[in-house]
Symmetry: C2
Subunit: 369 residues, 2 copies
């Protein structure tokens, strides 16, 4: 296999066949990703050759990176916030654990996450020798604050709240968490990987951003609701000095120190993320998010018309139902408790919802008889 090359004609014939074996997006109801918007793809290609690991070679790309951070600073009501682009939620959360652990200087550091936290925290804590304390949820799938407070001790370096949980689409009580964080002088990180590009565009959404005075950092993934190319994550910090604990010397690069986790990293997906957000603006994003929320409502009511009960009315476009099977070839997912979970991403258009409901209805009737 290794020796001889393959003509590009045969190669792409083969690669196209592989690609056809992937499930089509119009049947994917389980993913928090979505096909990137054409503006993202165009920007991605324009910046394909760039490497933000060596920003002095790419000052124009570095400027776009800076604009992306400024965009989120404005969106999250802290124009002076610091930030960095990452490969996604896992890397963003690792960065937070790195600097909060370094700042605490405890021999037995711990963090407190809600039971709804993404599995990346388990991975990061195990890797970094941090104890992960899990706070239970209340009846609304939200972090229970009194029980969270009981878990805090002098070795707690970080509290984590979620804005738009992966499983049930709920947002933890961030203002109450912020109050606890301030009282106890602990860093509060908000994992808004999903909700960070949903909640700001909704009326009467729960508060989660830097308007809440105790919030120290927020992570958000443009490759989810930002319709950008993978990999695209952003970590925003209220005080840029957070990053000082992460600096290492970077000889033979055009910058002398760096705080990113990755070395070489793509400018392409950073440009893709910025392009989508700049193109749509807040008004355009509001329209997209409104559509996703409307589809979530329609799906929920449609399922309930078949007698399948919702688990909760979510804060974001993640619908959950009591366990039920769905017909092939729809790709859905199930929560740890076995509830049906459907994410109404931008590619899940209204006609997709109607098609799913219609096919589900027939299947459900057959199964019931």
């Amino acid at each position: 296999m290794v020796s001889d090359g393959i003509s590009s004609e045969s190669l792409f014939c083969f690669l196209e066949e592989c690609r056809r074996r992937d499930i089509c997006w119009d049947h994917i109801l389980s993913s928090m990703c979505t096909p990137p918007h054409q503006v993202a793809v165009r920007a991605h290609n324009l910046f394909m050759e760039t490497n933000l690991g060596d920003p002095g070679l790419f000052p124009g790309t570095a400027h776009v990176d800076e604009l992306l951070i400024r965009w989120f600073g404005d969106l999250y009501h802290a124009p002076d916030a610091g930030g960095c682009s990452t490969s996604g939620g896992t890397e963003s959360n690792i960065q937070v654990l790195r600097f909060t652990k370094a700042a605490k200087k405890s021999d037995h550091p711990n963090i407190i996450v809600p039971a709804s936290a993404h599995f990346s925290f388990e991975k990061a804590c195990r890797m970094m020798g941090i104890e992960m304390r899990v706070a239970p949820l209340d009846g609304q799938y939200r972090m229970d604050i009194p029980k969270t407070a009981e878990l805090v001790d002098k070795d707690t370096c970080c509290l984590i709240g979620i804005a738009g949980t992966t499983e049930y689409g709920m947002t933890d009580p961030i203002p109450a968490l912020g109050k606890l964080a301030e009282e106890e002088d602990i860093h509060l990180h908000v994992d808004a990987a999903f909700g960070g590009l949903v909640l700001p565009f909704l009326k009467d959404a729960p508060q989660f951003d830097f308007k809440v005075s105790g919030v120290g950092s927020i992570s958000v993934d443009p490759h989810k609701m930002g319709m950008s190319t993978i990999p695209s994550g952003v970590l925003m910090v209220r005080d840029e000095a957070c990053f000082c604990n992460l600096l290492v010397d970077t000889p033979y690069l055009t910058v002398k120190q760096s705080y990113s986790l990755s070395g070489t990293r793509p400018g392409a997906s950073v440009a893709g993320a910025y392009a989508v957000l700049a193109h749509f603006g807040k008004d355009g994003m509001e329209a997209i998010v409104a559509g996703c929320m409307e589809n979530t409502r329609r799906l929920t009511e449609g399922m309930e018309a078949y007698g399948v009960k919702r688990k909760i009315t979510p804060d974001v476009n993640v619908a959950t139902f009591e366990h039920t099977e769905v017909p092939e070839p729809w790709a859905v997912s199930y929560t740890r408790s076995g509830d049906l979970r459907i994410v109404c991403m931008p590619h899940v258009h209204r006609d997709v919802i109607e098609k799913f409901l219609s096919e589900f209805g027939e299947f459900h009737d057959r199964s019931s008889n």
Copy 2:
């Protein structure tokens, strides 16, 4: 800035202007990256919408990922080796530290790296609470094995050797390190981020791969000499069971467990990497590497003709010289000791070398007078 959207016409006008501010590749002599080959870009675009973080949705893409691992297994003389694609050298090295630390179960784990090791090891060790012991180099910028042996103790979980060092392009004595690793029963990881796609294509190159019985894992970055799109790294392990220590449960995905560090991750750059390597094959890569090595020789002789001495004759296409300034707008770099460093990547064609030598000559004459 956040409120109103921008038309795509104005947006791309602006983004193109940003891109023009980046330094042109034909003047970049300092980078271990290179513009991706057109085959990589085409494959990248074909797989742009895929997410290997949820491989059950993308079985065709996951197959290409598997083929990439198999390609490197064959290349490194261990067809049954396990492996995983990563975002690059830093993530690959972190993965190795994760599983070797977990396997050792020491309260005070340490690793031994050569003084030439990439700064990502410092970052990873600090993050993971691992002591980093630094072995000195011999007169040829290679890891000193007797002195390495003196640093080993019962808490040493990993030895690191480099194949193609970032600064001087040298390869550590991997067979001797392998012997030490076997005697002491310690995992040996070879960081071949750069050399892993150079050394296999050279005659009489130093041994570094699984042919050396003590080698437990090898990392290589297709986004360097593999002319692929960023981010593209690969970690190969002799025994796939290494990864068992990294597994976490991944509810609501199409796979139930995962050992990758990232969650969502691009299929696009994996396909890009596979496309280039499959297209060129071993023979094609030999030709490209031969050209880069020939240019390295030409550059070295050209500089010496001006009286600028080489520091060492490198194993790979990284040329170093005693400190000297170079004219604008050439982007070169300097090692930690201040030596001039030029990487003869595939984009540094022979005419680029000649142009640089000619402009350097004029500049050097003026500076000397």
